[in-house]
């Protein structure tokens, strides 16, 4: 149960149950749909991008606690950041979720996103945590849809 408690921390359960920025805006400049056909999770990420900065971000969709919480925390974290910064964060986040040997110091900048590092112990759940981020990157790149398998 220990690694489960680690996975399902309070913060995650909270974001899973009460996702922030869970809304369809009407002034989005970019949007993308993310699918995880393994479990049927589907998220749409909406962005308002202005001169390379994400001014606003929100999402809707359905999925497991991990993917919803990850999406919710992502929206809080990236708002106001530049595209370049976001790509760097994506890489760090991805590394945190998949790299067992990662050094704690190197992901400090992810701040409270670190609570999601528990997925490392659950290879099949990594996709749940990263789906919103893949969708975000697709939206930034102007793609309409992304599927993770």
């Amino acid at each position: 149960m220990d690694s489960l408690r680690e996975l399902y921390q309070e913060v995650i359960l909270d974001h899973g149950k009460n996702p922030r920025n869970f809304t369809t805006p009407d002034n989005a400049t970019n949007k993308a749909l993310g699918n995880n056909p393994l479990c049927g999770d589907q998220l749409t990420v909406y962005l308002k991008v202005d001169s390379g900065f994400v001014e606003d971000v929100s999402f809707i969709g359905h999925g497991c606690a991990i993917s919803i919480a990850s999406a919710s925390m992502m929206t809080e974290f990236i708002k106001g950041k530049s595209e370049d910064e976001i790509k760097q964060i994506f890489n760090k986040f991805h590394e945190m979720c998949t790299d067992e040997g990662i050094d704690k110091g190197s992901i400090e900048e992810l701040e409270k996103l670190q609570v999601l590092s528990g997925v490392r112990e659950y290879p099949t759940r990594v996709k749940c945590a990263t789906l919103p981020w893949h969708t975000l990157l697709a939206a930034l790149a102007g793609e309409k849809e992304v599927t993770t398998e």
Partner: protein, 417 residues
Amino acid sequence: MMSLRTDKDEKYTFNVDNVRKDFPIFKESMNGQPLVFLDTAASAQKPNQVIDSITEIYKTEYANVHRGLYKISETLTAKYEGVREIISDYINAEHTSEIIFTRNATESINLVARSFGKSFLKENDEIILSELEHHANIVPWQMLREEIGVIIKIAPINDEGEFIIDEFEKLLCNRTKLVAISHMSNVLGSILPVKEITRLSQAVGAKVLIDGCQAITHLPVDVQKIGCDFYVFSGHKLYGPSGVGVLYAREELLEMMPPFMGGGDMISAVTFEESTWAKIPHKFEAGTPAIVQVIGLGVAIEYLKSLGLEDIRKYEKTILDYATQKLLDIEGLRLIGTAEDKASVLSFTLDFAHPHDVATIIDGAGVAVRAGHHCAQPLMNRMNVAATVRASLGLYNTEEDIDRLVSSLHNVSEIFN
């Protein structure tokens, strides 16, 4: 654990404790807990009888089959071909040549779609499927539609997950050329009235394919009684090895149908100008078959027969009933699939946790279930869920397994509530 008590005057010898001893995997643990395996609908565990027969063949009897003019090849060929008899007996086929070995049920259906469908159906002919089909019984027909322009119609089910025979009847017409329907749903457990479906379909001149992947494990199957033209299933769900499936088809159809794949063993003579086909069943088995797996499947069936098929069914029913009752006691649990006539599969959702999260958490308690769409996305849409948790039963499951499932679901509730 338990063994089942019944009226003394009924001969009932099924003893699950003994049966479990035949399945070595139950000595294993998962995540530090004794394994509770509730995913038989995806693939069943194997008894020692099957495993040992495989080992034995590879260690002492292995050779390629057919065309071998030495002892071990002749002996193994006889065993391999003998499995056609075991299977035709098990499903009551009329001839052993009506049993074709494939990799899995999926290949069996693709074989029918390509060989029968492509040759005998034409544009605007209609195929009827049901709302609860597995992707294996949807996608091959869509590929056929893509190729020759047949029309696919969908027979509906009700909210309990029961096939609505009246609605089905309305879809039948003289353009209906094929009806392809599950005998038992892999998500809902519903058992479909395949005999009635077959009768109605054949009355308008349609051929009938029954996907028996789930049914074969839990129900008596008599293809002549059903009257169907094709019946398919996979060995790995029937306590047999991975890598082997079966297509039953009526002799008369097999004779008419062109081969599916070309190669060795399925020909009578080859020149560069022309090849002629072997007789059935070999016309449909190109190349070196899954020799050892076929024989292992035969052993699995013999094993089941030795336990007593009727007794297995009765026992499984008691566990299904027990599980149904225990699950319904859990607050916030919704059972998906409540057909009057059902077997061995329990799909559900919890209103406080996503199926994916449920599976991960109870895996931590050693309980193996499946979560997701179970290769039946259209059915998920019909039932208005994105995914379910599915606990499916085999002949080795016990009330204790169900208790462990239930208590692990309480863990989920603790975490989420």
